[in-house]
């Protein structure tokens, strides 16, 4: 199965970088209350790759993602999405960049309760004043299996279904990169597996780039690469992870941080 699904991935000769950070630091507060959330983190997210960011609570993994996605501004260092350097952008340009080139999946789904599933999915292109690409939209919708529920409002959907709407929303505008902030954190294991499967399929079949923050080794097992963060620093990286290997590495961190 692994070789089969790897095939389309290898067909795409994608050596480009979807997003990268260079010496990225983020400091909150000052003086006694000064907290260094990110300490000169340099990392590149390659196109067509599914990356998981892991680490213990408070290691800065969410901050890294927020900065890389243009939701938060770094204290120093730089972030590039494609070839665009984010620090040069004003709020309006940053907003446009998020809208056109970045997709988001949140832990708490974050669907607009007043909009139907379909309206939620097509929200980013609607905001941009564009018509969504109907063929692509149909493909995304059928992939996440929502064809029958497009007229439902979020309140009428289960958690898993809501997150599938969110995945479709992230994919709908064909972004350069999708960021997921613990996308399975609010889901039971079956729904979680479904969502992770969609994300992996989108990478393998559609060539999408996905970066996901998680603390769940099982979720990380779906990724092509796992990067480990501790105390705001990039400490390790693992290619072709499996849940067991990830778990071992995480345990290793725990003991190391305790002994150090």
């Amino acid at each position: 199965m692994t070789t089969h699904s790897l095939a389309p991935h290898e067909l795409r000769t994608t050596t480009g970088i979807a997003a990268a950070t260079t010496d990225l630091s983020k400091v909150y507060g000052s003086g006694d209350t000064r907290v260094v959330a990110l300490d000169r983190v340099s990392i590149a997210f390659r196109e067509g790759e599914f990356t998981a960011i892991m680490g213990p609570s408070g290691c800065g993994k969410s901050t890294l993602m927020h900065c890389a996605a243009g939701l938060d501004s770094p204290s120093s260092g730089s972030v590039c999405v494609g070839t665009t350097e984010l620090s040069t952008l004003g709020d309006r340009q940053l907003t446009a960049l998020r809208r056109d080139r970045i997709g988001f999946i949140f832990q708490a789904f974050n669907l607009l309760p007043t909009l139907t599933a379909l309206e939620n999915i097509t929200l980013p292109p609607t905001i941009a004043g564009r018509r969504p690409d109907q063929q692509w939209l149909d493909r995304v919708i059928s992939m996440v299996g929502l064809s029958q529920r497009l007229d439902h409002r979020p309140a009428q959907l289960s958690g898993g279904q809501q997150q599938r709407v969110a995945v479709a929303r992230a994919l709908a505008s064909r972004p350069a990169i999708i960021f997921g902030d613990e996308p399975t954190g609010n889901l039971d294991s079956r729904s979680g597996a479904e969502v992770l499967g969609f994300l992996r399929d989108s990478v393998r079949e559609l060539g999408q780039t996905v970066v996901m923050v998680t603390h769940d080794p099982v979720a990380a097992g779906y990724a092509d690469r796992v990067v480990f963060l501790a105390d705001g620093r990039l400490v390790d990286e693992m290619a072709q992870p499996t849940p067991d290997r990830v778990l071992d590495r995480m345990k290793d961190f725990d003991t190391r941080s305790r002994t150090s």
């Binding site: 938060d72 998020r98 708490a108 309760p113 007043t114 609607t126 004043g129």
Partner: protein, 842 residues
């Protein structure tokens, strides 16, 4: 429990701020009204009684049948006798009457109503105790006068100038000998006072050698009661004496009756403001309770009883009310001071804060939140403890309560049916039925607003989605998310609007009615009227004969006729010219019949009596004269018009029966139409008499509608307070909504809606709320205006419903502008939402 409540109040102080502010505004309004009323009352009393302490005893000729039409029996001899009584320092004989002062252009100065004339009565020392001269001295010769300070300033007169003054005995020029200050006993606020030398004044106002009253000043240390009995012992028949103190009390009672109505109106508007505030408060508490569902459920889960939860919430609202009341009391006193400067013609006076005001304001301010929070609290108490454990978000849109909807619909139907029934039947009780029906229907509509919000908002949807495809659509959906909240917010605005537009409709209808009643009939360029109710006689108009460029006709009213058995007033006109001066819509016959000595009759009069053209009626006058008159024409006329006569007769005919008819006005048309020169010519020909005013059509229209306009403006100013509260309600609802939707707003921002887009969305929501309230309010107001107008129609013929589109549109625009302003802060908050924090929110 108190500590929990206190802690809650402080924990939610930002959210309770709006509630507190609304209560404060309401209390401010009440305190303001009461303090202003009390202060005005005191000031008016002070003003009315000002100067009376100077008078120890006042002796006056008795009013009543015995002395009607003839001067009193007070003469100089009596005055001298009074002056010689022990304890009397001075006895000033007084006369007074009408005296109008002209400005340099010959037009009367001041409002004409309080154009007073009096006499300068110097005591032994050459001074009159009632007047303090700031320039020059009192008038002593027959060609000199003195003027009060304000009038002299208004006319720009200095001592030595020539001033033209008119009295009922004619106008002439005088030399200004002095300018004086005086007190309220002599000079009413806004009026003018001209002092003549004693003999001149007596000639003008009474009869040489006689006084209307004698004011006695006492020597220091004199007992007034004893003085009074001494005075009474020497009084001639037909005169009586009262002490100055008693006179002051009588004056004060007379003066304050007007101010009481004013403060009643203010309190009425305060009640409206409070009613509007109730919606705001209720809304805030509902939202607070919704947000605190889990917290309250947790309290229940850990063992708090329903009663305790209720008590916590009640204490909270009580605390908010009490704090806001104190603030409102303070601000309200300030507002009263502001009102004093606003209504500049009311006397400024120290502010009066009575204990009653404090108690009423505090009670209302404290109880209002409790009443307003009653329903939300009931809902809060019903929260089951298990709600603490459920993580479910409350995203399902709330539906308007079915009980409320049913009740509202029933009220609207009943009310509307009553109004329609009342409007169709013209019975005696129609008024009451319409008024009651309108009130019921309006109450019902307020109940129905949540239900109505959906269709009304949907009405605006195509426009909004075209203007702003994304934000517009989102704004519409957000507005409809909680119809109950939207409804309550809009209801506050709608109430203020109902009153404003209802008043506009009534005002416009009444103005147009009056306008038409007077000016429709008028084709003359000028109408000459007397200032201050002085009688004009046919001789007043006579000089106009000399003005070749003018065509004129007097309106000589002659009373006391029985024509064909009906009490009638005949109005004599110049049959040759009247057709050019008044627009007669002749229904039957011809106006030319006037020249042949026949009369023309108004349609309403003909209808009442059943007269017809060609009929000859027997005439009988009160003094026994007899004759007969033939009807030559019937014309259309408004019964309320003060120009169109009910019976028009040639002046020669009137002269035969009545040598002293009262000229109600003189109609003048000039060759070449109205112009400055024509006006000057007419004024000059009439002798530059300040007691006559020459009015053009615009003046007449302005005179008729000014009163209504002024009153409406005061009402609008008062209603603006209710509008401010309603706008606060919008700000409050939006602020709450922004707080509740933090996650959504963060998501929208993350997904690519820029700050401007978020701002626009919130603004559109505010505009929608404003439009909803304004639309419903305007509709209800027009309905109310129509219904109330219907009740008038029965009494006032010719009253028609006028929709002042311009004014209605303007008020709607103001509402929209207010809503936009209200959205400023919430929109800012929404645009600045911290995306990472907001999107991660549970």
């Amino acid at each position: 429990m108190l500590r929990t409540a206190l802690r809650n109040v402080f924990a939610h102080k930002a959210r309770l701020l709006m509630t507190a502010f609304a209560v404060m505004l309401g209390v401010t309004f009440i305190t303001g009204s009461l303090v202003y009323g009390d202060s005005l009352n005191q000031a008016t009393t002070a003003k009315a009684t000002d100067g009376y302490e100077r008078i120890a005893v006042n002796v006056s000729a008795d009013a009543g049948p015995a002395s009607r039409g003839r001067p009193g029996d007070l003469d100089a001899r009596t005055a001298t006798a009074l002056a010689k009584l022990p304890g009397v320092a001075a006895a000033a004989g007084r006369v007074d009457g009408f005296a109008a002062v002209a400005d340099r252009d010959g037009k009367p100065l001041g409002n004409g109503k309080d154009a007073q004339g009096g006499n300068f009565a110097p005591a032994a020392d050459g001074k009159d105790p009632a007047y303090r001269f700031t320039e020059g001295s009192g008038p002593t010769g027959k060609d000199t006068i003195a003027l009060d300070e304000a009038t002299a300033a208004k006319g720009g007169y200095r001592v030595g100038d020539t001033v033209r003054v008119g009295t009922n005995k004619g106008a002439s020029s005088y030399t200004l000998s002095g300018i004086f200050r005086t007190d309220g006993t002599k000079l009413p606020a806004g009026g003018s006072l001209t002092l003549f030398a004693g003999a001149t004044a007596q000639k003008f106002f009474l009869e040489p050698g006689r006084y209307k009253n004698v004011e006695l000043t006492a020597t220091p240390g004199t007992d007034v009661t004893q003085l009074l009995s001494r005075v009474e012992s020497v009084l001639p028949k037909g005169t009586s004496a009262v002490t100055g103190a008693r006179l002051a009390r009588i004056k004060a009672n007379l003066a304050t009756s007007g101010t009481d109505t004013m403060s009643q109106i203010l309190v009425g508007f305060a009640a409206v403001a409070l009613f509007v505030a109730t919606f705001l408060i209720s809304n805030t508490f509902t939202m607070l309770v919704a947000r605190r569902t889990r917290e309250l459920a947790l309290m229940r889960a850990v063992g708090a009883t329903r009663e305790q939860v209720r008590r916590i919430l009640l204490t909270e609202s009580l605390l908010v009310g009490a704090i806001a009341s104190v603030a409102g009391l303070t601000v309200g006193t300030g507002v009263a001071a502001l009102l004093q400067t606003l209504f500049a013609d009311t006397p400024a006076a120290p502010l009066v804060l009575t204990p009653t005001t404090v108690i009423i304001s505090m009670l209302v301010g404290t109880l209002l939140p409790i009443v307003a929070a009653w329903l939300p609290i009931r809902r809060a108490v019903a929260i089951p403890p298990v709600a603490a454990l459920s993580a479910a978000e409350c995203t399902a849109p709330a539906r308007p309560g079915s009980l409320r909807t049913g009740l509202g619909a029933a009220l609207v139907l009943t009310g509307t049916a009553a109004v329609v029934y009342g409007a169709l039947t013209t019975g005696k009780d129609a008024r009451t039925v319409i008024g009651l029906g309108a009130a019921i229907a309006l109450t019902g509509t307020i109940g129905l607003i949540p239900l109505l919000s959906r269709p009304v908002v949907t009405l605006f949807r195509p426009l909004l989605t075209r203007l702003a495809p994304v934000h517009g659509d989102l704004a519409v959906r957000n507005t409809m998310r909680d119809p109950r909240r939207t409804g309550a917010t809009a209801a506050a605005l709608a109430i203020a609007f109902t009153l404003a537009s209802g008043l506009s409709v009534l005002g416009a209808s009444a103005t147009q009615y009056l306008d038409r009643a007077t000016t429709h009939a008028l084709s003359a360029d000028y109408v000459v009227r007397s200032v201050g109710g002085r009688r004009m006689t046919p001789t007043t108009a006579a000089p106009l004969k000399k003005l070749a460029s003018a065509t004129y006709s007097p309106l000589d009213q002659s009373t006391g006729y029985r024509l064909g058995g009906s009490e009638s007033v005949l109005t004599g006109v110049d049959p040759a010219t009247i057709g050019k001066l008044l627009r007669y819509d002749v229904i039957e016959g011809s106006l030319d019949s006037l020249v042949q000595g026949q009369i023309a009759v108004a349609d309403f009069k003909a209808e009442q009596t059943g007269w017809h053209v060609g009929q000859t009626l027997p005439l009988e006058r009160r003094n026994g004269q007899r004759g007969s008159l033939t009807i030559g024409a019937i014309y259309q006329a408004d019964e309320q018009s003060d120009l169109m006569p009910s019976i028009t007769a040639p002046d020669s005919l009137i002269a035969r029966y009545d040598s002293t008819p009262s000229t109600a006005g003189i109609l003048v048309a000039t060759d070449g139409g109205p112009s400055r020169a024509a006006l000057a010519g007419v004024t000059h020909t009439l002798g530059d008499n300040p007691t006559l005013s020459v009015l053009d059509q615009a003046d007449i229209r302005a005179q008729d509608s000014r009163g209504i306009g002024d009153q409406l403006n005061v009402f609008y100013a008062l209603l603006s307070m209710a509008l401010v509260i309603a706008a606060l309600g919008i700000a409050n609802t939006l602020a709450m909504s922004v707080l509740e939707r933090r996650k959504e707003l963060g998501t929208l921002r993350a997904l690519g809606l820029d700050r401007a887009g978020v701002t626009r969305m919130i603004r559109l929501e505010a505009l929608l709320l404003g439009a909803l309230g304004a639309t419903l309010g305007t509709l209800m107001g027009v309905f109310l205006g129509w219904a109330l107008g219907r009740t008038l129609q029965a009494n006032v013929a010719g009253y028609e419903l006028v929709l002042p589109w311009g004014r209605l549109a303007l008020t709607v625009l103001i509402a929209l502008a207010g809503s936009l302003l209200a959205s400023f802060w919430p929109a800012r908050r929404a645009a600045r939402v911290d995306i990472p924090a907001a999107t991660a929110a549970q």
